[in-house]
Symmetry: C2
Subunit: 211 residues, 2 copies
DNA sequence: CGACGATGTATCGGACCGATACATCGTCAC
DNA sequence: GTGACGATGTATCGGTCCGATACATCGTCG
């Protein structure tokens, strides 16, 4: 998952670890806490060993001004052609982990770099998964209600509500996707509900495709 | 986290691994997927090594009917006195991990075994954490809006909505807690909104305290 | 000029997951 | 009857990720 996110982010610009973490936090803030350095740095090395990213000098040509202010040990990474290929491959093959909370969130965050067919497939897979969770919760709340204390039931009830809401959200996104529109539908539940600013440019697939 | 949940569940009845997983899934279905055996069994051994749980023969006295149907290798665990002490200790000391998604959910699921002061402290800690996440999302949606594509923004918007809803839910629970009522308030958002069945028995602290 | 907070890289132990393996039991179709 | 199948049941292994920790530099403000 982190591998996917790093590859995705580095396609926008070369970055060093610290920066990468900040961008990651901004982009994925809705779905998970800040990534740990204990994961980030080993992963960066792994990606480098695999040839998907490389170190980049900040001033490209190494000589010229070699140790003017004695540049700190800042390691800037950039994605390689193989890395872009790998990212595309990770998008294409959507396994079961693509539909769990974190996996779906990360994939969704890079929907602008995903083709419409795949977007649709992921949204529908996620919907199916949430529907299953919802049914499980309904079962517990229905059949096994007397075995549970009030707090556990309240937890399930709240979870059930969240499932129902997410299914509705997904339905909306799927409908938009099918009709070729971008997200942020003006119908129910949208926060920025002002009716102006409604027809944004069609999503993604723009700039920086395969060279 | 899993340690906490196992200790909590085994206070209701002795169980073997498979059963434990099923109960765990039922109780925590709202907040996480089924626990993996790859975690469960090692954890059980760890808890046993620490003296918090022990193996229990299903028919107590080992001889009598030794190999009638040649009982399968079913290992039933039960909690020890030290285990109950450990559980109480884990409830009392609420660290930062108590307020993240999983940690809070697990603690909440065992609120019936938690004293009111601790319940209140946990609910307020969780609220604070969610409020912080909410502010972070508002910042990103406000200040850095032009840097994000439509999909990323939609993700943040949906996350922000979930935060706002959870804060309201927590407010309600806190208010209930302060007024000494059980959860499932009849005000906004409660699913079982029929006005009858309103004054349930005050929560928890019942049966099976320290022997 | 020294304290402090932001920036920046790095490691280590431990928690947890997903895949896999293997064995028993009851049941239903053939 | 017998064999296929799904539920029950215990167990291990490699890999991902987290949280704590350590350490060094930079700018700023009292």
């Amino acid at each position: 998952m982190l591998e996917f996110a790093i590859l995705g982010l580095l396609q926008e610009a070369p970055m060093h670890g610290y920066e990468l973490r900040k961008e990651l936090t901004a982009k994925l803030g809705a779905i998970r806490a800040a990534i740990s350095y204990g994961t980030l740095y080993p992963t960066l090395r792994r990606l480098q060993a695999a040839g998907w990213i490389t170190e980049a000098n900040e001033t490209t040509t190494a000589s010229d001004v070699p140790a003017l202010t004695s540049r700190r040990g800042r390691v800037v990474y950039e994605i390689t052609a193989e890395g872009k290929e790998r990212f595309a491959q990770l998008i294409a093959q959507a396994g079961p982990e693509t539909y769990d909370d974190t996996g779906f969130g990360v994939h969704f965050a890079f929907f602008a770099r995903t083709d419409q067919a795949t977007r649709l497939r992921i949204l529908e897979g996620r919907r199916r998964k949430i529907e299953e969770r919802r049914e499980g919760l309904r079962d517990v709340l229905g059949r096994a209600a007397e075995r549970l204390d009030a707090y556990t039931m309240e937890l399930q009830r709240h979870g059930l509500e969240a499932c129902e809401r997410e299914v509705r959200w997904l339905e909306e996104l799927i409908a938009n996707e099918r009709s070729g529109r971008a997200p942020t539908a003006p119908t129910t539940g949208a926060a920025g509900g002002r009716p102006e600013d409604n027809s944004p440019p069609p999503p993604g697939e723009s700039r920086e495709e395969r060279p």
